[in-house]
């Protein structure tokens, strides 16, 4: 008995092509009444011999006719799921508790192989009753034309435990129930939103009063909390979050002559559903909500090409177009903290992208080839900006500089590759440039932070073409048109010592130039980076052993610019009113400072002149003096990792040992180490390694087993500085409350004088992922007189994410209060130093077991039973803060971490004809 992989169908010998359409009709009809699903497939196997999904059956001694004609197959059956689980059904559609039908078909037909006709057709469909259904119809005359119509649905479940109080879910306007009471519990914080009011513990809410006494809430406060809870908690209701993608596609391939191909394709995809998105109402209090966000997107993609084949020459001219259309332009939502206030979010803008590509390859000789590619693209986005009057949050009091972005991005690619084989040598030389040239025009955009009405008067108000009335907290920004041009060149030379032993040496150079069109200052964190990579590989086969070792070292260096962030703030290049003699940028250049200002504590004498204006008390660049509320100042030594200087070591090894005819053992390992050697703050090091052991055992044609284990370990090591602002404050609460906790300073005054350089505020992150994955596949054939086949698959995944934190932060003693509260007892810390604590480990343990059995009834028919058990047991601290009563400023969602035990069992009948 031979087995092989198809689409989950049994195979047989009856030729009943005429019944195909009837069977298809019946099946489609069946599928409209009940969900259908493909019988689970093997996803773990390494050895092709073990990759056979259950139920694929071909007779032992097929005739020539059976081997040469086209087979059609149908699979029908029934199955059931033991429990509903959104996560289990995340992509497969089996998220509901129910019985479902199994229905798949694959019908083929057309001229026989020995005909002079090349007409062929094929019609396939699976999972027809689920939101994961798909179908493909192919037909054509091979060598002349081929046509494909395909339809595919994809489900992506996110959460079924999400709750929201917002009404209008699924629309672009979210409101709150008329009964909504702002969940502020005054004794906790009289002004800011505090969802503590939704705390289910009625007696909670004890606070230190102004006299420094821990007090339980009054009856009136308890009544207020109860009223809030009674009004708001019932408003929270479940909303399932899930997206569906429906995609239809047409592909045509014309072959007008033997030397010309013309492939054309068009697809339309509609993505619809709900997901969550964060929406902030108040930037000061960080009042925000995880909103139910409607996705209603259409994406059309089309391509066409002309491929010309002239013996040694291949030429291709191709077009690709992508048209994204968002059917919802913006979203409005009511502020849970301020009745009557509405905030707005601009959704992803509709856009287009067109690309032309020319490819040519020329065979210079039997062993030498040249390939060149050129590509140009044009992306546009010109969706109207959101109407400033749509929301009443006051974010855009000065209107808009223009109605839409007029976004324009050109992309370009030029690449060439030359390959040559000569004797024992194989040479590859390649060069490439690619470009993203953003030509979007700049504009100055004036806006207020969320819930931050204008205050004071900006030193740029009425100057440099700006309107009057700008506040000190008005953001004066221009957009940046991020552009990048990268060049790559390299070569490799491989020498073959023998047919089975090879050594390769290679070198690559990679340069990236980043800039912003029309920008007044270099906008890129690293205007230019250069990377040199040296690599080598050795591989050898000898007898039963095959070994491979690869190693690469690369060195990237760039000119990091800590003041690049100023590119977004054009007023940094203008002299502010109020006494400054120069612009903020000029001041930084003349002093050699970054936006962080001097790396120093309080100056010994009060600062004067520009220093007092731009970096008062030696603090960071004063925001109002360059028109921003966005504190982006960079600490010297901080570097963003994706452009920072880096030494990279990559290694990979693979060893395959065919121990005996029956046993193959394969071990492989990968290592990658990124050392950001000149980075003092930011990501300093990333190391990753993984190792796999894979053993397959083929006892006989009838028994094959495969076992694997993979261990994966990633570490990200980053450092930071939670620096404060230098000040002359000498106590916390009232005079005398001066004792400071922590190892760095003993008094509040000493700490405040050096707040910006306090070493106790340095911290490190050590983020580790450790993941074990083990799997087993087993197949036993020819049982019960050759009629029974057993197969099984099991996978266990154990994921651990550790976020270790070292450092600490200062927290005021809640008893250190201003008068009339009593002073703290002598020696009592007015400010505590709180050591950091590691986050709880994020755990994801998943077990999957899929045994199955196939019983052969006849050459045409077989019966297949399967069972599928899957368990997920995760823990994740992310969900703690999402619960009602969380004391945070964002609206709770009461989401819980998904976990499940799901059993699926079923029986399917396979029929081939």
């Amino acid at each position: 008995m031979k087995s092989r992989n198809a689409c989950g169908f049994g195979a047989g010998s009856m030729r009943v092509l005429g019944r195909a359409s009837i069977a298809a009709g019946l099946l489609v009809a069946l599928s409209t009444f009940a969900a259908a699903q493909t019988v689970p497939q093997n996803t773990t196997g390494r050895n092709p011999g073990t990759q056979v999904p259950p139920g694929i059956y071909i007779p032992d001694e097929p005739t020539a006719a059976e081997q040469t004609r086209l087979h059609s197959r149908t699979q029908i059956g029934a199955a059931g799921i033991s429990a509903p689980s959104f996560k289990f059904g995340e992509y497969n559609g089996l998220n509901k508790f129910h019985a479902f039908a199994i229905g798949n078909f694959d019908y083929r037909g057309g001229a026989s192989y020995d005909s002079t006709d090349a007409w062929q057709w094929r019609f396939r469909g699976s999972s027809l009753g689920l939101e994961t259904r798909n179908g493909i119809l192919d037909f054509g005359k091979q060598g002349k034309f081929q046509v494909r119509f395909a339809y595919n649905e994809l489900l992506a479940n996110t959460s079924d435990s999400y709750q929201t109080p917002f009404l209008g879910v699924g629309s672009d306007t979210l409101s709150l129930p008329s009964t909504w009471v702002v969940p502020i519990l005054p004794q906790k914080n009289a002004t800011a939103l505090n969802y503590f009011a939704l705390n289910p513990v009625t007696a909670a809410g004890s606070v230190y009063n102004s006299k420094g006494v821990l007090t339980a809430p009054t009856q009136a406060q308890l009544n207020a909390m109860a009223a809030i809870r009674a009004a708001d908690l019932p408003a929270f209701r479940n909303v399932d979050l899930s997206l569906t993608r429906k995609r239809g596609e047409t592909q045509l391939l014309f072959n007008p002559t033997a030397s010309i191909d013309i492939p054309v394709s068009y697809s339309r995809e509609h993505k619809n559903g709900l997901r969550t998105i964060g929406g902030v109402n108040d930037q000061n209090t960080q009042d925000s909500a995880l909103l139910p966000y409607r996705v209603n997107w259409d994406t059309d993609q089309t391509s066409a090409a002309v491929n010309v084949k002239l013996h040694k020459l291949f030429l291709s001219f191709a077009y690709y177009g992508s048209f994204f259309h968002n059917n919802t332009e913006h979203m409005l939502w009511a502020d849970p903290a301020v009745i009557g206030l509405t905030s707005a979010l601009a959704e992803e803008p509709s856009s287009q992208f067109h690309q032309f590509t020319a490819t040519g390859s020329y065979k210079l000789s039997r062993d030498a080839k040249l390939v060149v590619v050129g590509s140009i693209g044009r992306g546009t986005q010109n969706q109207a900006f959101i109407n400033p009057s749509l929301s009443n949050e006051g974010a855009l009091p000065f209107g808009l500089p223009r109605p839409s972005l007029q976004g324009l991005v050109y992309t370009g690619l030029g690449a060439g590759k030359f390959t040559l084989k000569h004797g024992k040598w194989e040479l590859v030389a390649d060069a490439r440039f690619d470009e993203r040239d953003n030509q979007t025009p700049l504009g100055i955009f004036l806006f207020q932070d969320d819930a931050s009405p204008k205050t004071g008067k900006s030193p740029f108000s009425g100057l440099y073409g700006l309107p009057t009335g700008l506040g000190t907290n008005t953001n004066i920004y221009n957009n940046r048109s991020l552009s990048k041009l990268s060049y790559k060149a390299g070569g490799e030379a491989e020498y073959s010592f023998s047919k089975s032993e090879h050594l390769m040496l290679g070198y690559g150079w990679d340069r990236a130039d980043r800039h912003c069109s029309y920008s007044w200052i270099t906008c890129a964190d690293a205007k230019e980076t250069n990377e040199n990579t040296f690599r080598t590989e050795w591989r050898k086969s000898k007898g039963a052993l095959t070994a491979r070792v690869e190693y690469a070292f690369s060195e990237r260096r760039g000119d990091y610019n800590e003041n690049a962030f100023l590119a977004e703030t054009p007023m940094a290049n203008q002299v502010p009113a109020g006494g400054a003699s120069q612009s903020a940028y000029s001041y930084l250049k003349s002093t050699g400072l970054t936006g962080f200002g001097p790396v120093a504590g309080l100056p010994s004498a009060p600062l004067t002149g520009d220093a007092a204006i731009f970096t008062p008390n030696n603090n960071t660049l004063a925001q109002a003096q360059y028109g921003t509320r966005n504190i982006l100042n960079e600490i010297p030594g901080f570097k963003r990792y994706y452009v920072a200087d880096r030494n990279r070591n990559d290694a990979r090894t693979q060893l395959l040992w065919l121990a005996k005819d029956k046993v193959a053992i394969e071990g492989s390992g990968e290592l990658s180490d990124d050392d950001y050697l000149n980075t003092k703050l930011g990501l300093k090091r990333r190391t990753w390694w993984a190792a796999t052991m894979d053993v397959s055992y083929t006892a006989s044609e009838d028994l094959v087993a495969d076992v694997f284990y993979t261990y994966d370990n990633q570490r990200l090591y980053a450092t930071g500085d939670a620096f404060g602002s230098n000040s002359t404050a000498k106590f916390q609460g009232q005079a005398g409350d001066t004792v400071l906790g922590g190892p760095c300073f003993s008094t509040v005054a000493a700490r405040n004088a050096s707040a910006k350089i306090d070493p106790c505020l340095n911290w490190t992150h050590n983020d580790r992922d450790k993941i074990d994955t083990a799997g087993l596949t087993l197949r036993r054939k020819n049982l019960a007189g050759g009629k029974l086949e057993l197969a099984g698959e099991a996978v266990y995944t154990r994921g651990r994410t550790e976020n270790a934190v070292v450092g600490g932060s200062y927290v005021n003693n809640p008893l250190a209060l201003a008068a009339p509260a009593p002073k703290l007892p002598a020696g009592t810390q007015a400010i505590f130093f709180i050591p950091a604590q590691n986050y709880p480990v994020i755990r994801n343990d998943e077990v999957m077991v899929k045994p199955s059995a196939t019983y052969v009834i006849s050459k045409a028919a077989s019966l297949q039973g399967f069972y599928w058990f899957q368990r997920l047991s995760p823990t994740d601290w992310r969900y703690q803060g999402l619960q009602a009563g969380n004391k945070l400023n964002f609206t709770p969602t009461n989401e819980t971490v998904p976990n499940y035990d799901v059993h699926v069992g079923g029986l399917a009948f396979n029929w081939a004809f």
Partner: protein, 318 residues
Amino acid sequence: MRRSIRVIVFIILGLVLGSMGSRTAKAEINRSLDGDKKCTLCHNEASGHVLSIYQTKHGVKGDARTPGCQGCHGESVKHQENPSDSPEIVFGAKSKQLSSTEARTSACLSCHESSVHARTYWSGSTHEKQGLTCTDCHEMHNPEQKVLNKLTQPEVCFGCHQNERAQFHRFSRHPVLEGKVTCSDCHNPHGSTGPRLMVKNTVTETCYTCHAEKRGPFLWEHAPVVEDCTNCHSPHGSNVTPLLKTRAPMLCQECHTSDHAKGLYSAANLPGGPFVTGNGTIPLGAQSPTDQANGRACLQCHSQIHGSNHPGGAKYNR
């Protein structure tokens, strides 16, 4: 941009001119069934599934391009005269007479390098340099090739890419095991113009084929997003949803250390986070818990992290 256009025009002209070389005559092979009979007389239905090639595109005799047995395995005159001699080109991986990598690849490229489904970028590509041949992934006699079926293609790729096999069993992943997204949706195993065998010229262009909403251009662009999606995402799988390298706020703090991104956030800032102070464990009011350490952390407010088109969205929060 003009530079790009000039280079492209130059390349095309060069190639067209270069194509004016002479054609090399190639020995004609009898691709008909009569030609195949030289082989199928012996390699018949009793020889495994040799004949099932006639169910595949390579066996459609109505298409004059189909190769015939000798088109792939060579004329093999010696083998015909003496069956104990091996055919000129042997593809069977377990055969002791397995032909060299070059010979096996050349047999396929004789048509597929520049004629049928041209694999223009194969020469010098990652897989070619690793010593792979077409038949390491393709089973030419199998009408249901695993590598051409979305549901089963990963099994073929996982044969070598074993770590990726494990990654696709993680908590957050693309729907590859369900056959909804497959390896070749993102990677072209035959070589490409993009890095890491991406099907498009860049990583971002490849991602935009499914995630076009993130393409923009946006009014406020986020530099690492424009550069490369994999700066933050692990596309094959992650322990942290959605396919993130690590959890926010730690992820964001790798690049941001100002404003509230500079702060130290730890388990002490979770609800019920136990502060141990000099006076014992006491509640610390507004200091515990902290918004930036909880829920979606930074993304709770800076939710338009892939770019914002709101005129006031410079901080990716609108």
